[in-house]
Symmetry: C2
């Protein structure tokens, strides 16, 4: 504003030079240049531009419904009932769906999901989440007061990182993240001005977590920041691998060896009260992944354990500034943790649908690994925990040099060519981080089996051609 009361007529108030410098440092490969180009290509195809393919296959993001996966009927029935309660009189809806909807609506102000909820989330949903966690962990107690509902998992992760960010220079908060990582972490760390500390997963051992690497990374970080947070993604993203063993040393030297799925909270409790009563842990879950794939609803929760009560009060205050997470997402989260039980009318259908999705995922995981490992120059770890694979690719020296000359990461160069020639949209490994001199891409295994097969074979063909061309 100028001083005579007129509005400003000088240059822009907000330019890249005068904007928030931390925001500029943010990178988000999952929706980066490759994806932007893919959207453009889709438009070009619609406009009739000729391409060597007929459609873009988006294997860049874990977006199950976009890839044709059908929503779970029970979930959508309850959501429709919550949205338009007149349907409660409709006898086409099963009784268990109606009961769930009535219970959720009774927990909402004015019995409407159009009302604000409390900032921490709807009471009965938080109770259901706590019960779910307690069942998952074989009875280890979970307190609904420690549950915060969130706008997807991302929202909760950023909130906790925000609380933890403090200090300047060498006292600045350091956040340990796995490499490869999901870029939400690096992006949030950049935005908050915290320090990113990389620890590398062991690709040779199915992307496992080595304690010696954690130690190396921690030691190195202490030289220049204050490491305060260890982030773990389980199952891994982009690697798709679950944590198979969680190594810790007790007073003696025995290593804890776990079963297939590790709840970190459960591990803490098995380590004894000196750990379970002290270690601060925040864990996150959402409606977006697994068999439901309801990304658009942005439902999620976090559980905070051993958080200092004063800090918890600050957390509650902080989340209240955004008023509340979306109520439909909260309701959907409830259904995920409180799904149909044996004896309820929707149980059979629910189980059938759930099993179908999970078996299809298992089949597609196997297919992906098998086909990709037949390609010389591609090696793919088994995909066992999530909807992603992160195969390693060998790139010819000439391709690497050409990419560098263009100022592109070599795997970005590769993925961009793949997109232009085949319509397949993947995310280069450089967007997630990888060991210097190695190259990868992240691919979701979500396309329907027939399309996935076509895609994997196209990818095979492309890789062979690319290798030939640049050798």
């Amino acid at each position: 504003m100028s001083e005579n009361g007129a509005l400003p007529l000088r240059g822009k108030v907000l330019t890249v030079d005068t904007m928030n410098a931390n925001v500029k440092k943010v990178d988000y490969a999952v929706r980066g240049p490759i994806v932007q180009r893919a959207v453009q290509i889709e438009k070009e195809l619609k406009e009739g531009v000729k391409k060597p393919f007929e459609e873009v296959i988006k294997a860049n993001i874990g977006d199950a419904h976009a890839m044709g996966q059908r929503p779970i009927t029970f979930f959508r029935q309850v959501m429709a009932l919550c949205t338009y309660p007149q349907l409660l009189d409709d006898n086409k809806f099963p009784e268990d769906a109606k009961n769930r909807a009535r219970r959720i609506l009774q927990s909402c102000g004015g019995n409407s999901i159009g009302a604000y909820t409390t900032s921490q989330g709807i009471d009965c949903v938080r109770h259901d989440v706590a019960n779910y966690i307690q069942r998952r962990d074989g009875g280890i107690p979970s307190d609904p007061d420690n549950i915060y509902l969130t706008t997807g998992a991302s929202d909760g992760i950023v909130t906790i990182l925000k609380l933890l960010t403090a200090g300047e220079g060498r006292t600045r908060t350091g956040v340990m993240i796995s490499i490869p990582q999901y870029p939400l972490y690096s992006a949030s760390i950049a935005e908050l001005g915290a320090v990113q500390i990389n620890y590398y997963l062991n690709e040779e051992k199915c992307w496992s977590l080595d304690i010696s690497e954690l130690q190396r990374s921690l030691h190195a970080a202490r030289e220049h920041c204050n490491p305060r947070v260890l982030c773990i993604i389980n199952p891994g993203n982009p690697t798709g691998e679950p944590i198979r063993s969680f190594p810790y040393k007790k007073n003696s030297n025995d290593i804890y060896k776990g079963c297939e799925f590790h709840s970190f909270k459960k591990v803490l409790f098995e380590m004894g009260p000196e750990y379970s009563s002290k270690v601060e842990l925040a864990s996150f879950h959402s409606t977006s992944k697994c068999y439901m794939g309801e990304c658009g609803f942005r439902g999620g929760y976090m559980e905070v354990i051993n958080m200092d009560p004063e800090v918890k009060a600050q957390l509650t205050k902080l989340v209240s500034v955004r008023l509340c997470p979306p109520a439909p997402g909260q309701a959907l989260m409830d259904l995920v943790v409180n799904s149909p039980q044996p004896g309820e009318p929707s149980y059979q259908t629910f189980m059938k649908e759930r099993t179908a999705v999970l078996s299809a995922l298992a089949e597609k995981a196997k297919l992906t690994e098998e086909i990709l490992n037949t390609v010389p120059g591609i090696s793919c770890n088994p995909v066992q925990g999530a909807m992603y694979s992160f195969p390693r690719i060998t790139l010819p020296e000439r391709a690497i040099n050409e990419a560098k000359a263009k100022g592109q990461a070599p795997d970005m160069f590769y993925c961009m060519k793949l997109l232009e020639e085949t319509g397949i949209c993947l995310v280069p490994g450089s967007g997630f981080g990888q060991r210097e001199g190695t190259y990868h891409f992240r691919m979701t295994i979500l396309p329907p089996t027939d399309k996935l097969k076509i895609m994997l074979n196209k990818l095979k063909e492309f890789h062979q051609k690319f290798t030939q061309q640049y050798s």
Copy 2:
């Protein structure tokens, strides 16, 4: 983590002393101590604790559905259809609702609102928003590329403030906000570490915006920060008043006098191309207020005008980190900007419901003003623009002293007593800011008319008793 790989056994990693200092400075009165106490009292009532009242009346937050307002049928029908598309075959739903749902679903990945949308928001929704703004502003063009869908209005406001926050010490970004203000602004400014600059609305002139006060505030701020942002809430919150005239000086000295509702974008365009092509403006709207009151869906949009293209690219990148706003909220936003038209089957019912809500609000606004102004020591400006009133209260010296002795703001002391004695939950003026030595409360006018009457009369009685007691 300790160095031998065991988990930390020292004190807490995260304490109020070691947490993000900016977060500690955040205050959010609308969900502050009064509201927390109200929730407690509700629990006590449920547990059978005797109180001088039977229920808590929450007039602290603009939450229409929680106060018994019914959702607009058409909106909920379309949302149910989007959620559970099997209902598209049900002939109980009107054709226009089905058409809207089909159109929205066609814009969603895999035709599901469970898919992620693009980060900026669903294409067809952004187009509808742009058309709506264009109609509102008498044809001044609006570009869908300038529309970003958001998670409620709050999300958009924080995002824009985040982009604008830069500098250190005297170059730190200053943000001009009206006093009284909605505490989202002060809270976000604190969290981002920007500088809050207060300009005072003129209570004597129905909370109007004085250009001389803007100038005073700007001059004063220049001494200690870099004022870059002017925030305006229209209609006002907590004051409930619309901006009646938007004062600016052209080359000559004539003052622009506006009509009842001012679109700031329209004003800019009327000021001529030297303004309309240069002034950077971001404006926000949501599904939460007005006749629809759909707060729980967290739907919203912002339009950015004259934003530097490079900054806009940064904005797009920044919003992509959160993947997308909730898809149901986006769909609902679409219905608000694209409501039933004359000739469509739902038009009559829609208009009837909409008019009923708006007339009830007008009636309740009048009732509020009339009853409160009969109370000696309460003066209430007319409520004409929003669902809030912000009456001024005169407090006896002894009450002020007793409050101060307790370390409480005098109007907090007043509101807390009001809550304990009558069950009425209001927010003290100190939570919004007010001129030194004046006291207010913010009250929504949303309770149903009969309940509102009871509430206003209880308030009257309480004020008289309070004044007597402390005189």
